[in-house]
Amino acid sequence: MAEQGHSPLQQFEIQKVIDVKIGGADVSFTNSSVLMVIAVVAIIAFLSLSVRRRALVPGRWQSLAELSYEFVGNMIRDNVGKEGLKYFPLIFTLFMFVLFGNLLGLVPYSFTYTSHIAVTAALALMVITVVTAIGIAMHGFHFFSFFVPKGVPAVMLPLMVPIEIISYLSRPVSLAIRLFANMMAGHTMMKVFAGFVITLGAATFGVGAIAPLAMNVALTGFELLVAFLQAYVFTVLTCLYLNDAIHLH
């Protein structure tokens, strides 16, 4: 399976679909971009078509759309409070974009844009920038008191403040790496077991393929869970950071 072209990591390779260059910079439309566009179209279609009938008693699709709406709404209410609802559209977009990226990546032969560190890091940086901007806009200079823990002796402050700042700055790093690593690990594992199906199956007249195939079925279910869970974790952490920015300590 280490044979060139059949590496479990091959699925993460980016292929250009349309070559685009702006001022020497390569901004080609790639398979990653295709999936992003599909995700955007799918999310908009899901949310608009399902509530098109505006039924008082919702059907299946409308229930699903309302469920996602209230799920994110409750997440914000629980973790940030009513003041957080102002940022509902952004949090909702974030949740849906990550969730659909994770889910669409599970379709065979598609591509998982959330398995790329560039994408997750950009999303995490956007989150931390927006959250910090909200904090500074709400509290002004007082926002930086966030880095000064309460009840700590003044002698300790030269040590504590850098630690707080580092812990704050490591938030986007952990946010980005958690999503990227989870998606990449899951997809790699599925590919590895899929490789076992071929190699073990060929060596044992198909008998050896049963166990890795069963494993892959189980992994597919597990990856569906991970797809939801990581989207949820990404969003919930965003809410917690937002909560810190709005309420400070």
């Binding site: 990591l9 390569d26 901004v27 790639t30 608009s48 709406y69 560039a118 994408v119 999303l123 990227f180």
Partner: protein, 164 residues
């Protein structure tokens, strides 16, 4: 690891920025308000129905209270009418009873008076009848009529001793 190939960092971030911004704007301006509207309409409808139900309940309770009040009024009216009737009847009965008693007393008295008069008359006539009988008997025995005065005295004396 293809993820660490910096060749495609820029394009990914650019397309992420484009698609994410488009998605954000459309969700914020178009899609989410529609979902919110549907949810709000339902909430309004539910609130409306609850309010209506509460109003109907209050109405039903008022009607029940009115009914119960009417019922208890009627019952107390009936009771007072009954009590009045009973009192009236008792009064009437007592009056009639008193009248009857008086009449009977009067009649008893009249009867007693009559009896006493008759007795008196009878007792009075006994003396004369006895005197008459004595006179006649004496006349038959002796042949001549005795002195009326003596007969009377003798009869009175014998009557007196007979009474003893």
């Amino acid at each position: 690891m293809p993820q660490l190939n910096p060749e495609f960092f820029l394009t990914q971030i650019v397309w992420l920025a484009i698609t994410f911004t488009v998605l954000y704007l459309i969700l914020w301006r178009v899609a989410l308000p529609r979902v919110a509207e549907v949810l709000e309409t339902r909430q309004d409808k539910i609130d409306d129905d609850l309010e209506k139900a509460a109003r109907l309940k209050a109405e039903a309770e008022t009607a029940l209270a009115t009914y119960e009040k009417t019922l208890s009024d009627a019952r107390s009216e009936a009771q007072s009418a009954l009590r009045e009737a009973v009192a009236e009847l008792a009064n009437e009965a007592a009056k009639r009873n008193a009248e009857l008693t008086e009449r009977l007393n009067r009649e008893v008295k009249a009867g007693e008076d009559r009896i006493a008069a008759a007795k008196k008359q009878a007792v009075g006539s006994i003396a004369s009848i006895a005197a008459d009988a004595a006179t006649r008997a004496t006349e038959r025995l002796v042949g001549r009529a005795p002195d009326a005065k003596a007969v009377e005295t003798a009869v009175a004396a014998s009557l007196k001793s007979g009474e003893k």
